[in-house]
């Protein structure tokens, strides 16, 4: 099985198309720049063709010089045209294998295969591009190899599922177009204006129109303004309202479009080996997360969507998702839809029996006072030097700060379950974090000068791949919390957990089952 292989020959075509695209831009730039007078179109055509040819040759060379081998213990990739580099990734270090298909490769039936090792971002090994079937096969193979390694040393029969079934599992969560539309409306975003700004800059560079010329816009505004001024106050007010409605429509439309692009066909399935998430309209991604790699859960929500009962669930693990530290597994769902996913991950949601403990009221008071003090201090110079009445603005902000803090206290609480630890926090809507007690790595009680004076502390728990902190815990409770969490941790060694680095394969399976039993 260790013969050298090359990536799909069609990936040369992807590279070639990319270089042709940039060649066209270069050609256009030359054609409109005025180099070479009358012959410039020929010059542009020549340069463009040459650029495309060189790019295509480069893509071919890169393809030709990149080989990979599926060994007995690792995957090796050798690459580089002039300077060669060889990388080897052992199977037991591969956290998961994800497949990504951007629009162009997808048309050609290709995928980029990425091996996540927890090394983070650019250091991960990736093969661009393999045929879809080859990608699937490779993923299957890596998984089988890992199982072989594990079952070779762990109790036999612990892994029951035959590999063929591994990818077919129950659909845990899926989002149809209707759900996506609702989700998109809540993803209200004015980012489109930033994009427009970028476009303006581009227009500025390409054409003679100087978009940053203030006089030009001022003249245009005055022209428009005089038209508006003739309409009278009611029409002006109407204009403002229309503008606001326009903003809302543009913002919502942006949200909907972005959501559709990102989450089209969102499906989360549970198979014997783990969770599998597929999503994306043009860029389709396919990520598999082994269950035992899940270190904790984060249930987030938003200011408005919380009022309608919508929540989002992410898994905290050492592997990184596109840009965030945790994997989104259900971006927009009702609580009862999240429950089965949480159960499948071996966690339990807090229920009525959960004994929530609130943060110290002293912490609430101190935080409210400190936050509002900033605004009160700001009000003094404004009151002295600013126009009369303006100092009411920072004072108003101070009142809002106090109110927000008092409200935030409602969400600041924690609970210690039998096997888990829960904490919620947030200003206007709660974010809930759930971690397995067994999978914490250290516990710290931190206190600032004020906290020491007033007898509360922040408890930081060491969680692999994420953070877990509880603020404003009364000191005695913080100590009790630490003592009971530590008792759980100290009873099991790291290697007996299904650790994120998979250090001791021998203990892996027993650790997993112990964890399941504990939850």
């Amino acid at each position: 099985m260790s013969e050298l292989r090359r990536t799909a020959p069609l990936s040369v075509a992807v590279g070639a198309l990319g270089s042709i695209r940039s060649a066209i831009i270069t050609g256009l730039a030359i054609a409109f720049s005025g180099i070479g007078d009358a012959n410039r179109f020929w010059v542009a055509l020549g340069v463009g063709t040459a650029a495309a040819a060189i790019g295509t040759f480069g893509a071919w060379l890169k393809w030709h010089r990149l080989t990979y081998a599926i060994g007995a213990e690792d995957i090796r990739v050798e690459s580089g045209v002039l300077s060669r580099s060889a990388r080897s990734v052992p199977y037991e270090r591969i956290q998961d294998v994800s497949l990504e298909a951007k629009p162009l490769p997808r048309l050609l039936g290709l995928v980029a295969v990425k091996f996540e090792t927890g090394a983070g971002g650019a250091d991960d090994l990736s093969l661009q591009y393999l045929s879809t079937a080859e990608g699937e096969r490779l993923r299957q193979l890596v998984r089988e190899r890992r199982e072989d390694e594990q079952t070779g040393q762990a109790e036999p029969g612990a892994v029951a599922a035959p590999a063929a079934q591994a990818d077919e599992g129950d659909v845990l969560f899926a989002m149809g177009p209707g759900r996506l539309l609702t989700f998109g409306l809540f993803e209200f975003s004015l980012a489109v204006f930033a994009v427009l700004g970028g476009l303006l800059q581009y227009v500025d560079n390409v054409t003679d129109l100087d978009v940053w010329n203030v006089d030009l816009w001022w003249g245009w505004l005055k022209e428009q303004g005089s038209t508006v001024a003739t309409l009278g106050p009611y029409a002006q007010a109407l204009g403002v309202v229309a503008g606001a409605i326009g903003l809302v429509i543009v913002g919502s439309a942006t949200g909907v479009v972005r959501t559709f692009l990102r989450d089209w066909g969102f499906t989360l399935t549970r198979s014997a080996r783990g969770f599998r998430r597929q999503r994306g309209l043009f860029t389709r991604t396919d990520v598999v997360m082994p269950v035992h790699r899940v270190q904790g859960l984060v249930i987030g929500t938003g200011l408005i969507r919380y009022r309608f009962g919508w929540h989002g669930l992410s898994f905290v693990s050492l592997a990184q998702d596109a840009e965030s530290e945790s994997h989104v597994v259900a971006p927009f769902a009702q609580m009862d839809e999240l429950a089965p996913i949480v159960t499948a991950a071996g966690f339990r949601l807090p229920d009525d029996a959960t004994a929530w403990q609130r943060a110290s009221t002293r912490h609430r008071t101190d935080k409210a006072l400190l936050d509002s003090a900033l605004f009160v201090l700001a009000a003094i110079p404004v009151g002295v030097f600013g126009p009369p009445g303006l100092f009411l603005v920072p004072l108003g902000a101070a009142v809002v700060a106090v109110a927000a803090n008092l409200y935030a206290w409602e969400f600041r609480r924690f609970a210690l379950g039998e096997a888990q630890i829960f904490a919620t926090s947030g200003f206007m809507s709660p974010t809930t974090r759930i971690a397995t007690r067994l999978k914490l790595h250290s516990v710290e009680i931190a206190q600032g000068p004020l906290a020491r004076l007033r007898g509360y502390a922040t408890v930081h728990c060491g969680l692999a791949g994420g953070s877990f902190a509880i603020a404003g815990v009364p000191l005695a409770e913080a100590r009790a919390l630490r003592a009971s969490v530590l008792e759980t941790i100290a009873s099991t060694d790291y290697s007996r957990l299904d650790g994120p680095l998979d250090q001791a394969l021998s203990g892996a399976q027993s650790g997993f089952s112990a964890n399941l039993a504990a939850t």
Binding site: H441, S442, V443, H460, C461, R479, A490, D493, Y494
Partner: protein, 172 residues
């Protein structure tokens, strides 16, 4: 358990809020030297300013360097002792507790079962005073490394062996 008598650690009951073990007395000297080294740039700048203003005769002699020197002296006398007093550790059968911070206090417990690897470091100053820093690395994002400075050189190595032995015993 052959390592246990060396520290008497395994005999201690698990009590995370119990009395702390003080660090090596030399550590307070090392801290003092560190503070002095930290104060030198400020003194140098203030002396420079002092000479510049003596030449112009704007302020009475010692108006700049005097207060700076006084503050530096006060800090050198007070701060290292307070920092030293605020620090401590507690080692028990299966965990290490590290307390540090004079104003911002932090009290961390690392169970040996979660230690990934252990470092014993000595800087030039630490070597001069015969002390060392013990650092425990964990897989958590918060407290990825917990360091305990100011241990006697031999004690630090002994503790490392102790923790290492614990890890090996656990994972067998």
């Amino acid at each position: 358990m052959d390592h246990a008598p060396a520290l008497g650690a395994s005999a201690l009951p698990v009590d995370d809020d119990g009395a702390l073990t003080r660090l090596h007395p030399n550590y307070s000297h090392a801290l003092r030297v560190q503070t002095v080294l930290g104060a030198i740039p400020f003194l140098a700048v203030s002396l420079g300013l002092e000479f510049a203003q003596i030449a112009k005769g704007l302020l009475p002699q010692g108006a700049i360097a005097g207060p700076v020197l006084l503050i530096a002296l006060a800090l050198v006398i007070r701060i290292p002792q307070s920092r030293y007093n605020a620090r401590g550790y507690q080692i028990s059968a299966d965990r290490l507790r590290v307390v540090r911070g004079f104003l911002w206090r932090s009290d961390t417990v690392v169970p040996f079962g979660r230690v990934q690897h252990i470092d014993v470091d000595q800087g030039p100053l630490e070597r001069f005073f015969g002390i060392a820093t013990l650092t425990l690395h964990t897989a958590g994002n918060h407290n990825a490394s917990v360091s305990l400075p100011g241990l006697g050189e031999d004690l630090a190595r002994e503790m490392r062996e102790d923790i290492r032995a614990h890890i090996r015993r656990e994972s067998l």
